[in-house]
Symmetry: C2
Subunit: 358 residues, 2 copies
């Protein structure tokens, strides 16, 4: 009778999997005791000799617990679903990096999901949410009209909304978000200090919570300076460079032939900022001579643009990490957590300069 670890080899070319029972046998103890020792169960008070025998056997055999068996037993699997809206945005990437690193630090892993798929495709929704596929969900918020659905999910699965405070009042949803108004305020104050008195805003989609919060910071900073945003100086667009480009062209058309126009513009995010910067020359506007441009979110590209883009950085990486920590702490839902370490920070660069004399 072959009960050696090699007896259960499946594919010929593959190394055989070592089970807990193999470790227990090698150490001459029962399976439960091996389990307790390996899991540092304080109740297991075996002699030091036994303990090391088990530990050494495990190390020698290269034992790694079977996660499926553990999951079935423990009803959790060490997996966190990270569900974002647009995988190609450098902004979500930072969030993802922070979440991944934090998860790894706690021996957890991230499973990638897509917001639209999750909300529209029922199969995807159900495997994620009811199939025990993941222990919890981090969902990118800030997009309009899907809050009820999230509340639904949260009823079945610990859920954290990142990127925007949740508008759902239900118990189980925690949200984690940066100081959006504060960040935009920093940008606005920077432009005001440079002498700009009329500042445009290229905001995100109309139904975006994030966009609204940024506009709030913008408006309140203007108000503090005795100014206010004129309706005709604001454009809504989507969160992309193509959107930023279209917005710049739209604004330039409005300004056609009028000397009375904004001398600076704030981009709702840095993708939009890139689009504005790219479109300005074609509109006959030189940045920063004719127009100062500043954007929310500092990404790897900001400093390499021509001219380098003034931005405010928000703690995206930390937000991802904190979302994971919240989920693992299984904290009571309903909390709204402002990620404020580090604080929003201004990165003044050549895309902003003193307002031209009037």
């Amino acid at each position: 009778m072959d009960t050696s670890p090699h007896a259960n080899a499946k594919s010929p070319g593959r190394r055989p999997k070592v089970r807990l029972s193999d470790v227990a046998a090698a150490a001459g103890v029962s399976v439960p005791l091996a389990s307790r020792i390996l899991n540092r169960d304080p109740a297991a008070r075996a002699t030091e000799a036994t303990r090391t025998r088990v530990l050494e056997a495990a190390a020698e055999l290269g034992y790694v617990p079977n996660v499926a068996a553990k999951s079935l037993r423990l009803r959790r699997n060490g997996l966190i679903g990270l569900v974002v809206h647009d995988l190609s945005s450098p902004i979500h990437l930072e969030l993802m990096r922070g979440a991944r690193a934090e998860a790894a630090a706690h021996a957890h892993f991230l499973v990638l999901g897509d917001v639209d798929e999750l909300l529209q495709d029922d199969t995807s929704f159900r495997t994620f949410v009811s199939g025990n596929r993941v222990d919890g969900l981090i969902v990118q918020g800030g997009h309009g009209g899907f809050d009820e659905r999230i509340a639904d999910i949260a009823q079945a699965l610990p859920t954290v909304i990142v990127n925007a405070p949740s508008r759902v009042a239900r118990d189980r949803v925690t949200s984690v978000f940066p100081d959006e108004p504060g960040g935009t305020r920093l940008l606005t104050e920077h432009l005001l200090a440079l002498g700009h008195t009329r500042i445009g805003l290229v905001s995100g989609p109309r139904d975006s919570t994030t966009g609204m919060l940024r506009e709030e910071g913008f408006s309140s900073a203007l108000a503090d300076a005795g100014l206010s945003l004129r309706e005709e100086d604001r454009v809504h667009t989507d969160w992309s460079s193509a959107g930023g480009r279209a917005a710049m062209i739209e604004l330039a058309a409005r300004w056609q032939g009028s000397a009375d126009r904004p001398t600076a513009v704030i981009a709702g995010n840095s993708l939009i900022g890139v689009g504005i910067l790219g479109a300005a020359p074609g509109c006959g506007l030189s940045v920063p001579t004719d127009l100062s441009v500043a954007a929310v979110h500092d990404t790897w590209i900001s400093e390499h643009l021509v001219p380098p883009l003034t931005t405010v950085s928000l703690p995206l990486y930390e937000m991802g990490a904190l979302a994971v920590r919240q989920l693992l702490a299984d904290s009571p839902g309903g909390t709204e957590i402002l990620v404020d370490d580090p604080r929003p920070q201004l990165h003044p660069r050549a895309s902003t300069a003193a307002a031209p004399a009037r």
Copy 2:
């Protein structure tokens, strides 16, 4: 006795999980039969009435199989590890998007890993590789000196290397990669057609397989035109915009005061291209008047740069999708697969122009 689905509710606020036995009971059949019907086992030839009763019960109860139980039984879990080197690169993002979408189409999910962590941290390595955490691994290749380790992994777990052909001759490693030489050749021919006869190359790190392949395409296109790369016209740097910036500064210093210099430069990837474009003005070089710049990989940003960057696009999204397909097909290892649909495509933009007259 309460055997209703609600009997197994755990957390009071959460919806109870429905088990297969609940479905079977509701449909009045045995658990095995319910399993067979739900899994479309052709051997199960129940009456149509029974079949629909089971299907309807499952739908009504909102049954979703417990993945942990399935995994334990079937020895696979529908998870694929995607292990990349730098999560923040827009290039890997495309790969990731393709892989995620393809995986989702086959009811699989992606678990995020980090190459450095996988190779250096033994715990991470072992949970991924021997802990049955994932069914297979997609690892980003092209970085020097870790091929033996990958071969090691592949012995335990189906593995596909993306991004570069594997230099490991072992049986089990399949690699999937785009036509790197072909792409760079397209870029080179474009510059040659514009009249450039001396072209510089800002390549990636010295030990990068990918970089070497691109240089091959570059050199062979030059050779076809009766030209060749001069040693002093090549700079190695890392795959980043900061690297590109440093390289541009280095080249400009070499060219100082000499009329005899390259009139065009090819960037090993588009991040490097961004850095070159950003650094050129500071070096007293106007693009494309003084210097044409072209780069490998077309990303969202290329067309929004000032000037828009000429690039060649490689099928990164498709490469990700194909890697997943390879893994799921459990095809025999050792194959090298060129992803050539779509073919590398030139995107001529304003960063390249006719060579200045000599």
